[in-house]
């Protein structure tokens, strides 16, 4: 089955900051076409894991294979070019651009732009630009922001900024998308919308990995859950299995049960 094929394989990964072990061999395989949630108490290494996968950090040891290709030591933009896209925990939209321009930037990997081709407005460049614009509008329709295409991105409320960031990440036509706390700071309606958006992304055939504290979102939408604590994998399985795993309960209660 196609769905059983691992799209991202991580093994023997070690990431240390000085004496602090942020990640210690959390081996796992992400299956294609699934939604995998990464959970764990604060400081468990979730965002660090994302930063390592997307090339923002270079691990001390270990391997990461994306579609059977090693992506260790690649730069973030190269990894993005291979088809891994991401969002950020602290919303990182381009506040100096319009909503549409934000999504258009997402197409950057599809654009071979240089100062020369842009400066002379070569016909190919113009055609590409038109094409990207209409595709970006399609994405805005998909995420429900087409009515605000010409507004400054920083004028949007936080919920819509997060959705916009997801839309921008989708623009590069990724095979794998990493969402860092897509529901954080959202009210119930907004987080419900975010959940259905993530489901819709899965329907498109994009593999989703997300870090999330909102357990309702996690349990509702994920196919697999990876639990980290102190940089180590303590559990991996379906939401049902995780819910009843004594090690998981202990990890959360040990952290004052803050997120249980």
């Amino acid at each position: 089955m196609e769905a059983d094929k691992g799209i991202l394989k991580i093994s023997e990964l070690v990431m240390a900051f000085g004496g602090l072990m942020a990640l210690y061999k959390p081996d796992f395989v992400i299956r294609q076409g699934t939604i995998t949630a990464v959970i764990g108490p604060n400081g468990a290494g979730k965002t660090t894991l994302f930063n390592v996968i997307t090339g923002f950090l270079t691990p001390n040891e270990g391997t990461i294979h994306f579609r059977d290709q090693s992506i260790i030591n690649l730069k973030p933009h190269e990894i993005a070019g291979l088809g891994i896209s991401r969002t950020f925990q602290t919303v990182e939209i381009f506040e100096n651009m319009t909503v549409l321009e934000n999504v258009m930037l997402g197409f950057h990997t599809k654009l071979r732009s240089s100062f020369i081709s842009s400066g002379f407005q070569l016909p190919l460049t113009r055609r590409k630009e038109k094409e990207i614009k209409s595709k970006a509008m399609d994405i805005l329709k998909f995420i429900g922001l087409s009515g605000k295409w010409n507004e400054p991105a920083d004028s949007l409320p936080l919920g819509e900024q997060k959705v916009l960031e997801i839309g921008r990440a989708l623009a590069s036509d990724p095979a794998l998308i990493c969402l860092d706390e897509p529901a954080a700071g959202l009210n119930e309606t907004e987080s419900h919308l975010a959940s259905s958006l993530i489901m819709a992304i899965k329907e498109k055939g994009v593999t989703v990995v997300l870090v999330e504290h909102d357990m309702k979102v996690v349990m509702d939408i994920s196919d697999e859950v990876l639990v980290l604590n102190y940089g180590q994998k303590i559990a991996y399985g379906t939401p049902e299995e995780i819910k009843n795993d004594p090690k998981v309960i202990e990890a959360y209660l040990g952290d004052d049960g803050a997120y249980a």
Binding site: M97, S118, R168
Partner: protein
């Protein structure tokens, strides 16, 4: 927000450029303005590049006076010592300056904020010292004379009017080229870098490549400006390329509004007139005035003069919507 630049405004801009000397020549008080406008045009070439570098990509440079100087000195040295054709000097100057910008820019642009500012400042000072010290080549503090003028298709650019049209023709071409960059994928990438390097990288933008590209492009423009300056004045000396000049460039784009490409033109023209005309008789106040302008703009008009229409528009909209309630 970056306003789209319409074809009409560029056409209007071209019209002003064409008509200005005709109008000025009929009014005795401003008869000599086209001469000043030649210098303004030369500075515009630098500020257009700097605006792209600082306003759009968010990378500060306090050393662009050095690139301007390298262009000027290469033109000066190659024409006077080796008798080379001025056009080839200009091209060679731009190429060499680009190489220098690449070599200096690659490590510098890894630095951020204050570090980048200081690195470019230090580079500017070093180049200035070299101009002063390498007397065998540059003539030292006294500078060099006898730099040949330009001839275009056997047509010597030896009058103010001719040189004016020549310089501003180049400015117009560079302006359109740069506007095209801004309004394309490359321009978006630069603005993305300004806003969030992390997000830009995550979206596949090769951040260091773009930074080096825009740095090199702006340096090459400064070099061409330097050559134009040298071939017009037929004389160069180091004092035109000191740190004070680099800061003046900063004042030009801050006053004009560095987030708007028009700001580069507006700022360069105003500061040039201040420099050559209005402040001419108050030399002892010069630095104070420049400092005060920069400070006032930074505090009260962070978007610069080119940002005023947007502020007015915003203010109108707010007043109107308040009134309708």
């Amino acid at each position: 927000m970056m306003l789209r630049i319409s074809k009409y405004s560029i056409f209007f801009f071209a019209l002003i450029i064409i008509l200005f000397p005709r109008i000025a020549s009929n009014i005795s008080a401003i008869e000599h303005y086209p001469d000043i406008m030649i210098f303004a045009g030369i500075y515009c070439l630098i500020t257009i590049g700097l605006s792209l570098l600082m306003g759009y990509a968010g990378q500060i440079s306090l050393g662009h006076g050095a690139f301007y100087g390298i262009g000027a000195y290469i033109s000066a040295i190659l024409t006077t010592r080796f008798g080379w054709n001025p056009w080839s000097c200009m091209v060679i100057g731009a190429v060499i300056t680009s190489i220098v910008a690449f070599v200096v820019g690659a490590p510098s642009l890894k630095l951020k904020g204050h570090y980048l500012a200081m690195a470019t400042l230090a580079f500017g000072v070093i180049v200035f010292i070299i101009f002063n010290e390498e007397i065998e080549w540059t003539g030292g503090p006294d500078g060099m004379t006898g730099i040949s003028g330009l001839t275009l298709f056997g047509f010597p650019l030896n009058t103010v009017e001719r040189y004016y049209y020549f310089v501003w023709g180049i400015v117009l071409a560079v302006f359109i080229f740069t506007v095209n960059i801004i309004q394309s994928g490359s321009g978006r990438a630069l603005r993305a870098i300004h806003s969030s390097e992390a997000a830009a990288m995550a979206m596949g933008v090769d951040v260091s490549r773009y930074k080096i590209m825009v740095f090199t492009y702006s340096a090459a423009l400064a070099s061409v400006a330097g050559s134009l300056y040298a071939h017009y004045l037929n004389f160069v000396n180091p004092s035109s390329f000191d740190i004070f000049f680099s800061i003046k460039l900063l004042i030009m784009i801050a006053l004009g509004g560095m987030h708007y490409i028009w700001g580069a033109i507006i700022g360069a023209v105003i500061i040039t007139f201040l420099n050559y005309e209005w402040l001419h008789y108050f030399e002892e106040l010069e630095i104070l005035v420049y400092g005060a302008i920069l400070l006032i703009v930074t505090i009260f008009l962070p978007q610069g003069l080119a940002g005023i229409p947007a502020i007015v528009k915003h203010w109108f909209r707010r007043t109107l919507s308040d009134g309708s309630r």
